[in-house]
Amino acid sequence: MSIQQTDTPASSPIANDAGMSPLHKAIFLGLLAFLVVLPFMVYPVFAMKIMCFALFAAAFNLLLGFGGLLSFGHAAYFGGASYVAAHAAKVWGLTPELAVLSGAAAAAFLGLIIGSLSIRRQGIYFAMVTLAFAQMVYFVALQAEFTGGEDGIQSVPRGKLFGLISLEDNISLYFFVLALTFGGILFLYRVVHSPFGQVLKAIRENEPRAISLGYDVNRYKLIVFVLSATFAGLAGATKSQVFQLASLTDVHWAMSGEVVLMTLLGGMGTVFGPILGAAMIVTMQNYLATFGAWVTVIQGVIFVIGVLLFREGIIGVISRWLKRPL
């Protein structure tokens, strides 16, 4: 399933190959300024949850929006990394930054195996193979000893950053998470706007032509798959440090569906769409928790309206109005 974008300005070549376009730079700076004051305005753990999911959605968007590959099994990397990071912090006693890194490394490894097997398939088959592999990862998470079954890995210590700075306090943890997720999103941005990203775009728009130009298409696809898995893993590993918990929720296929929802709602193939989409879905889940079963209904309605009326996503629509890629 190659996701062909209609010819909106969002998919036109990025004007500025070298640095960041001034508009994007301004938005990133504004976002950063906002995020620095955010924990003093809202509950920090809630803000951290949004940032983790924003990175997850951005990593997913790299594969879907820029690589043109719809994975239906991204929960495997998100959840798998969160288990590894939780285990590393709790049982091996690693410091938070090492725990998170080991989670991301595990996700990269998983992505390499699953990716090399699945990129040979296309479209709906690609989606289904990734789903099948993700179900197997779920099975392992349910059965393996170290994952704690349905209890998950609980009471993960927050530990000391570099062995020095205690992260027990929500605010210091917040800035650790901010650095990781914001850094991750900036890195993904760089990837998309690099020569590598241009090749990806060429493959997405016309694969046979890219092949005839001499590009090893499968290698590019595998690299983008592994990158996406790694950053999804970074997000999951960070989440396990924030909530001091890794659980089956993170590896369940519903999580794979949720990240699709976030990306779609915000606007796939845009830079800021997944971030906004993640923020909206997490906020909604948080504030609608008291409505019980209505949350599912409301989420479903958003899905339906989104697909029928706003296929480009919110940022996609704004980007079309402004006639600028966002």
Binding site: L261, V304, V307
Partner: protein, 296 residues
């Protein structure tokens, strides 16, 4: 008599039969999914929710109107099918020109809505639905006790599945359908109302899900979650059989029911995941599926 890993042939035979019965549900559901995908190019994620709705409609008919199992077996699929037609006319028809992804996402959203609504009105514990008196009891086959109702499920499923296959592959109406899949413009040039054909096909595919729901009501608890996890499995069945292949969906449905049944004897913990393992292997070796025509 030989023994296989400590399992006596009697037990094995019993398990094969049970697998076939479960396969009967997979076959009806995956058939509906395959029919819809074949003609509409939509992956109907709402299939599980509509299966659940079929069971609920049967319960509602009984509880509020006193309409029993046999009429419900006809009425509930009609009601679910009509509901499907409304969905198709108002929503899905806008998506045919687009990527498959959007149909999948739309129906995913619809599934959330349908399940959420039933959950709000009927709670989660489930509701009782009795086996019709004509089919209560069972036969002792020597190697196992076969409830009459389960035997009926297999018969009903085989009749419906092969009836559908016959209709699509061997009749004039079926020929129109297949032609409309290949080349809608040409078929409508012959004066055939293609949008109507598509709408009716979706209604039919969904009605099959409703039918499976009514069949399931007396043996599984009628609850809002009964279709939630099933959809993923049925989905895998369709992919293994080959997307859009009618016969493939039917045969794979029965076959995987049996494979799953055997897994339950030899490695019960793995029975929930075996279908996905098979799916991954099939897709890697023969991506078009066991019965698919060509790889895309």
């Amino acid at each position: 008599m030989f023994e296989l890993l400590g399992i006596s042939p009697q037990v094995l035979l019993g398990q094969l039969l049970l697998g076939l019965i479960n396969g009967a549900f997979y076959a009806i559901l995956s058939l509906g999914l395959a029919v819809i995908f074949g003609l509409l190019n939509i992956i109907n994620f709402a299939h599980g929710a509509l299966y659940m709705a079929g069971a609920f409609v049967a319960w509602i008919l009984l509880h509020y109107l006193g309409i029993g199992y046999w009429p419900a077996l006809i009425l509930a699929p009609l009601i679910v099918g009509a509901f499907g037609i409304v969905l198709e006319r108002t929503m899905m028809s806008r998506l045919y020109k687009l990527d498959h992804l959007y149909g999948l996402l739309l129906t995913f959203g619809l599934a959330l809505i349908i399940q959420g609504l039933f959950r709000n009105y009927y709670g989660i514990s489930g509701l009782p639905y009795q086996i019709p008196s004509q089919l209560s009891g069972g036969q002792n086959l020597g190697f196992m006790f076969l409830p009459n109702y389960r035997a009926w499920v297999v018969v009903a499923s085989i009749v419906v599945c092969f009836g559908t296959w016959f209709m699509i592959e061997k009749t004039r109406l079926g020929a129109y359908l297949r032609a409309a899949t290949e080349n809608p413009a040409l078929v409508s040039a012959f004066g055939i109302n293609v949008p109507l054909l598509i709408t009716l096909t979706y209604g039919f595919g969904v009605a099959l899900a409703g039918f499976a729901g009514v069949l399931a009501a007396p043996i599984y608890s009628v609850n809002p979650n009964m279709g939630a996890d099933l959809i993923i499995v049925v989905f895998a069945v369709v992919v293994i059989g080959g997307m859009g292949s009618i016969l493939g969906a039917i045969i794979t449905g029965y076959m995987l029911g049996i494979v799953e049944g055997l897994t339950r004897v030899f490695y019960p913990e793995g029975s929930a995941v075996v279908i996905f393992v098979i799916m991954a292997i099939v897709l890697l070796i023969k991506p078009e599926g066991l019965f698919g025509k060509e790889a895309r």
